[in-house]
Symmetry: C2
Subunit: 267 residues, 2 copies
């Protein structure tokens, strides 16, 4: 279930990007797969639990919770949360970086159930924390797995999830307070916007721009093109490189610059 599809799976992957990925969820969630059946099925949670220690882009942005009702005293249990829209696994709506851009409630359901492709730069990122997804990475991906489908969420897997329990390591904070983690290069973002019909970019780091960016070029390009971002994705190493469908369960915050999202993948 966790092995990636190779070239031999290409035709299934192409055909399956929407139809197969969606249909596969039934078997994935309803019944064990037949022992010798051909198609691989899967269901993965790409969402981190929203905790009070999940690292914010900046220290101090962490979520805060308090218990407001208890079963012992009130007959039922309930917490209250104070959260910025960009903590935990979350969406950046176009309005996050683009004046007049669409807010969370304006992203349409059809934009939130989309095929996903995974660009794996983990080996390089382990050596170079400032590395980015490049146009060359995208071309290499397409040679092996086929053309990035229309409406795709293009997801960077950098392996950064292994650091999420250590905020300084996840942010890649250096002695001068600078940040170091991988993201999408502006060239790659521009290429996808110009040459492919993507819905979104997603990353397993705190930002679709690399940590060292001071100009947030990828945010500006992506939101300027009315597309959305997904940050702090989990478990991307368990997804097939192509052929999954993701459901982006964005909370439709009024006037939201984005917001928390439950993201599940099926294939």
């Amino acid at each position: 279930m966790c092995t990636e599809p190779g070239p031999s799976n290409h035709q299934l992957t192409r055909r399956g990007a929407l139809l197969g990925g969606a249909a596969a969820l039934a078997a994935a969630v309803a019944a064990p797969a037949p022992a010798r059946a051909a198609p691989r099925h899967g269901l993965r949670d790409l969402t981190y639990p929203l905790t009070t220690t999940f690292p914010g882009f900046a220290p101090g942005e962490e979520a805060v919770r308090r218990t407001v009702k208890t079963i012992a005293d009130d007959g039922y249990f309930m917490q209250e949360w104070r959260v910025i829209e960009h903590i935990g696994t979350h969406v950046d709506a176009p309005a996050h970086f683009t004046a007049g851009g669409r807010v969370a409630t304006e992203l349409q359901p059809a934009e939130l159930i989309v095929p996903a492709v995974v660009i794996d730069i983990a080996a390089r990122a382990a050596r170079e924390p400032d590395t980015v997804v490049t146009v060359s990475d995208l071309r290499t991906f397409e040679r092996r797995y086929g053309r990035i489908p229309d409406r795709a969420a293009v997801l960077m897997h950098s392996g950064w999830g292994s650091r999420v329990g250590d905020p300084d390591a996840f942010r890649g904070t250096d002695a001068a307070g600078g940040l170091h983690f991988p993201g999408f290069g502006a060239d790659a973002c521009e290429w996808l916007l110009s040459h492919r019909r993507i819905s979104s970019l997603g990353v397993d780091t705190l930002s679709i721009d690399p940590g060292e960016s001071e100009t947030f070029d990828t945010h500006l390009l992506l939101t300027g093109a009315d597309r959305y971002g997904i940050e702090n994705l989990a478990n991307l190493e368990h997804l097939p490189r192509s052929g999954a469908t993701i459901f982006v369960g964005l909370i439709p915050y009024e006037g939201g610059s984005g917001g928390q999202a439950r993201v599940l993948a099926t294939w």
Copy 2:
């Protein structure tokens, strides 16, 4: 797209509860349906925008937001929210009413992508605000649409959504401060737990128990059986009575008694 399937659709509905519902999303979101094709496809958002005026079960529970960053001053836009876990379209986890019950992070992805059936009591609810879904309603449903599938989310459509803009009307507040809106009767809940393998109950009102309940029997039965509830669902009148698949995008709040959820339906 909004007409309900009649008995002639029954076979499709049964077969399609998982496989068809999931596969249908591709056509629903990717391309216009062929003009004369047989299967009906649909995609609906069952989620209300999360606003500062969305009615709480009790007045004063409304969400609060503030702007923390603006593009003009900071280069990007961001809001902060203060929310209880039970405002807007949300899930009740077993821990909400059952000591030791599972919290939000413990509901599994396979429980969050499930077939949905809609029990329509809107005509009766228009006359009797305190009406409930009964065992008789469930039997009548099954005679017409077939057996409630395993893992189903059983959703009550009472027509209460037309009142959501008026908190007092949505709560059905009477002169003495009592609440009046429809919910699931405890008998119906018990029947579903004993005789069908449901995942959850959902309602288009503030509570899976009727408003006038003081003992919250349905909450206690459902969470005591380790199942979850979904409250404040929108647009149920646009769903087929059977054959849809819903995605319950619950935010996995740490220790959560439940929480906000983006709920989408496909068929």
